[in-house]
Symmetry: D2
Subunit: 136 residues, 4 copies
């Protein structure tokens, strides 16, 4: 299984596509994704819905944790909301590996604006299965 | 501001509508919402995206925490993923108030199937602002 | 390995003993422990230290998650602080099983006073190893 | 209120002293503390108790979040356990400010060994009260 195949599969993630999330970078235990906050992502207070911000962080999480080829499934995520942004804002989420164990791994997920304001910060733990998620 | 107005405003939440999330019940510090897992909510492993499950829990969270009339904004949420479900599954999320303080409040958010299997469990903290979010 | 042996081993947990934590009940996936808040458990604001409250919840967590005989080690815990109590207060922590999987399990950890005020609420995930922690 | 007074008060934190936790550094929104894992800090598996590791992280959290002079009280903390260490190990916990808002703030709490192995990683949110915790 080549890096190109992994990138292609992650780029076709249905929910990420539904939200307009793009995969910008993928490395070993690393990823960067982006999304523009649309009108349909607001909540009833008129600010971005927590679920939309979380989904962006989660897309980065899934990409980085599955970047090694081994199937990784999320066990838990904790997210902190730090700032609200207006509709039309381009957001980025960057996932970096805090720890990689045999069975579990931990990722830092930072959601920021173009000028690097921290909008949300999350940490997620995956369980690493024995199988590879793309047939070699 | 009447209960009907609160229900109407929450029911028109743009992101919840975008995901097909319906508000089934709203009480003081309580809510129940529902959503069917669509094809567009899967991730690249072919199971429901963590962001879609979180968004359902978050919709219940927002409804319950804003049910008192006072504006509540999410500070942090921790979610645990417990089971995967197939496309077409109807999911429910129920938010119950664990604690209601003057400035903060804590909610339990349980995502379940029709037969009550726990799919995800989350807890969320809100900051309670001084203003009412619907003009009286 | 008998239930009595498990109870004996858990009751001799060094850190729990150091803090005066007593095991009151142990069931399958369940435990209840207790501790009196001592002067040495305060922080520099003169209220119980977050670490002391957490440790009580954690003692309940360890007991309940290891109650099945299979070795369970903590992966992550999220705790919410809800109320402060004065020195001399007897606190209880009750651990209940939210979910028991083959490799992971999730527990609710509630710290309360005698009159059932919720002082702290936590949720913890364990990784369940293959071996039994007490030789059969 | 001078920095010396803040350092003195934090250094006399009863629970931190009880566990042998030392304040090594204190800056604006920053702190570093240290502790040696004693026999009394083990759990019934013979490894450091989650509560002991948490308490070290929490001591750093309290110091950093109260370093501005304004009273800060913990709302929630999420901790991930990453490695076990033997008795006698000197551990460090470093708290850095991820975000400082008017009413809340978020801190990263990293517990490491002398050779910089990440033993536990936590994030904590405080509520910032209006009063200063040391009379000016």
């Amino acid at each position: 299984m080549s890096r190109e195949e992994i990138i292609q599969r992650i780029s076709q993630d249905p929910f990420a596509c539904f939200l307009g999330i793009e995969l910008l970078e993928l490395g070993q235990g690393y990823s960067k994704v982006s999304m523009i906050v649309g009108e349909q992502m607001l909540n009833f207070h008129g600010i971005p819905h927590g679920g939309a911000l979380f989904s962006l962080a989660d897309a980065a999480f899934a990409a980085a944790s599955n970047s090694h080829g081994q199937t990784a499934v999320a066990l838990s995520v904790g997210i902190n909301y730090l700032a609200a942004v207006p509709v039309g804002t381009r957001l980025y989420a960057e996932a970096t590996e805090e720890s990689l164990g045999r069975r579990t791994a931990l990722y830092r997920l930072a959601v920021t604006t173009e000028d690097n304001t921290l909008v949300a910060l999350a940490h997620g733990t995956v369980y690493r299965k024995k199988e590879e998620w793309l047939a070699p």
